[in-house]
């Protein structure tokens, strides 16, 4: 069994706007091992979001090869990518992105909607996850009734419900105060210690310090 979870080779991404072609990623090489905690830092406009979109299978590279669990994924169809996202990847976003009309528990169960049916066992699992993240008394509350930190913990539970191989976090503490930030980072660190591979994109060097490895992306290339 290989230790490598994902491998990017010469990944390039270009956008065309009118006659001008922008090269956002200029040849990214990256290997992430299972169980790693990687932080990607860098200035705005450096290509962090684009890279995260490609790693998260939300977007395809213009050229280059992307092996995810030893499978070439850069050429998969939209539906195959959706299926892979559903089974293998959990997302945590800066703005939480919870559905406002659904309760915490229902939000956690959302990814399972696209896997098949939701049964009682899934509901127990969602409750278990929320319980573990300290939201035992909040499972039936709507996002608007929760604090920012609580909302982000619901989002983490949602990312974990499918037992993903990879957790992608995009500025997970960007909208939080320092206290909540610490709590969320504690959770991510703990999850990593249990073996979950995490890639986090951040501006905050305090947050990045929690990772095992830091990569800095500037002008479409890793500079260290």
């Amino acid at each position: 069994m290989s230790k490598i979870l994902l491998q990017l080779r010469e990944i390039k991404k270009t956008f065309q706007s009118g006659k001008v072609i922008y090269e956002i990623l200029k040849g990214i090489n990256l290997e992430v091992e299972k169980g790693e905690f990687l932080a990607i830092m860098g200035p705005s406009g450096g290509g962090k979001s684009t890279l995260l979109n490609i790693i998260g299978l939300l977007d395809r590279p213009t050229s280059g090869s992307y092996l995810f669990e030893n499978r070439e994924v850069s050429t998969l169809s939209t539906n195959e990518l959706a299926k892979l996202r559903n089974e293998k990847i959990g997302f945590v976003f800066q703005a939480f992105h919870l559905i406002p009309w659904a309760t915490a528990q229902e939000n956690v169960l959302l990814p399972l909607l696209y896997r098949g049916k939701i049964d009682q066992e899934d509901i127990y699992r969602a409750q278990g996850l929320l319980d573990r993240l300290g939201l035992k008394n909040h499972i039936n509350l709507k996002p608007a009734e929760l604090s920012g930190g609580q909302q982000q913990r619901v989002a983490i539970a949602r990312a974990l419900i499918n037992n993903p191989s990879l957790l992608l976090a995009d500025e997970p503490t960007g909208n939080l105060d320092s206290q909540s930030s610490r709590e969320v980072m504690d959770i991510l660190t703990e999850l990593n210690k249990e073996g979950l591979t995490i890639i986090i994109v951040t501006h905050d060097s305090e947050v990045a310090k929690r990772a095992n490895r830091i990569k800095i992306l500037k002008d479409g290339l890793f500079i260290e």
Partner: protein
């Protein structure tokens, strides 16, 4: 499908109530208009048929003057004096004629114990009541002797009897018609307005001879009612009647002072009028539904735009584009159906209130209900296609822009 699946799939529909109501409003108006108008059309048809039935398919009517069928009713345009009592007697020779009655129509003041009413007085013979298939709820028909003997006897229409006598028995009582004393010998059952546009309850029948001599002093009649043995014989008899009368009057067909009307003519004009009405109404209601579904389209587009992040999130969580397409198609269908059902409810309410109010027969509008429900589903689907397509094309990458 469990409750939670259902909620996660379609919970968004009911999130913004005002938005939902606005999008549903057009559909509600369209469906209720469609239902009410179609039911009115059906009801009008039933009403027409009921009226035509009082003027059976085996009945011919010869009227003096040029009669016109206007708005489905036989209306005498101008009265001439061409038609005589002898014409009616001459027509009796046609063997296929079953019953025949001359008719003179005038209006008079009828009086009983100080109560005066103005009503229509019809001079007829003893065959008239049988010919028109009227029944008597009191008394008896004219005797042949009474008709030939200029007797002053009268049969009252139901409404006339009620107004003059109330609940009392009218038979055997004496009334004054234009100051002449008449004996009431019978009362007609309630009949209503017939295809000749006359309220058959607001009339008094007297012998034709009495009407022409004693009451109105005329030597002509207004018309002749003829019934034949079989409806199939009507065209043949119509031709024979025409020929005999032309010969008797010694005029060319262009100058003839009479006109022959049969049930078929009235039915034909009535059907044309009502089909014009219902096609007009149907186009208006379908227009309403189109406008309504455009409303749903607009609101759905707004909703898709407002819920970009939710859609992006669903895509990131592994929803296929087809699943998003399906979700929004079903959402607009649910919205349309919801509006459709409210529209049906309001429409039914309108029908139950307005049909009896306008004295239209209450018909069960199954066909309009099925048609409007079907159209709602169709337009709901139609209105959802473009917004759903837009939703399925949303790029999940927007989630990472920190929005």
């Amino acid at each position: 499908m469990t409750l939670i699946t259902l909620k996660l799939s379609f919970g968004g529909i009911f999130y913004k109530k005002l938005r939902l109501f606005l999008s549903v409003l057009g559909i509600i108006i369209g469906v209720s208009a469609l239902l009410v108008m179609n039911t009115f059309g059906e009801s009008a048809k039933v009403k027409t048929m009921q009226e035509i039935e009082t003027f059976g398919p085996e009945i011919l009517m010869v009227v003096s003057g040029q009669a016109r069928v206007r708005a489905g009713r036989a209306i005498q345009a101008e009265q001439t004096t061409a038609l005589k009592l002898e014409d009616a007697q001459a027509l009796r020779k046609i063997s296929a004629i079953q019953l025949i009655s001359p008719l003179y129509t005038g209006s008079s003041i009828v009086r009983y114990l100080g109560k005066n009413i103005s009503t229509v007085v019809q001079g007829v013979n003893e065959e008239y009541i049988k010919l028109r298939k009227f029944s008597l709820i009191e008394g008896r028909n004219f005797l042949k002797d009474e008709v030939t003997g200029f007797k002053k006897v009268a049969i009252l229409g139901y409404k006339v009897k009620r107004e003059l006598f109330g609940e009392e028995k009218a038979e055997g009582q004496h009334i004054l018609i234009n100051k002449l004393p008449f004996t009431v010998i019978g009362v007609l059952e309630p009949i209503g307005v017939d295809a000749s546009n006359q309220d058959q309850d607001d009339q008094v029948l007297i012998p034709i001879t009495t009407a022409m001599s004693a009451l109105f002093n005329v030597d002509y009649i207004s018309g002749i009612f003829i019934s034949v043995y079989k409806p199939e014989l009507v065209p043949l008899i119509e031709k024979q009647v025409d020929e005999i009368l032309l010969k008797r009057h010694r005029v060319s067909p262009k100058e003839k002072g009479f006109n022959i009307i049969k049930a078929e003519d009235i039915l034909k004009f009535r059907t044309e009028a009502s089909s014009l009405f219902s096609s007009l109404v149907q186009s208006i209601s379908i227009l309403c539904l189109i406008v309504g579904s455009l409303g749903v389209t607009a609101i759905m587009l707004l909703s898709v735009n407002e819920r970009r992040r939710e859609i992006g999130l669903r895509l990131a969580c592994g929803a296929s584009r087809r699943a998003i397409l399906k979700q929004f198609l079903i959402e607009s269908m649910v919205i349309s159906l919801w509006g459709g059902f409210i529209g049906l409810f309001i429409g039914l309410l309108g029908i139950l209130v307005f049909l009896p109010l306008l004295k239209y027969p209450l018909v069960l509008p199954w066909k309009p209900i099925i048609v409007s429900t079907g159209l709602t589903i169709f337009f709901g689907l139609l209105s959802g296609i473009y917004p759903a397509y837009k939703a399925s094309k949303i790029d999940p990458a927007i989630l990472l822009k920190g929005l």
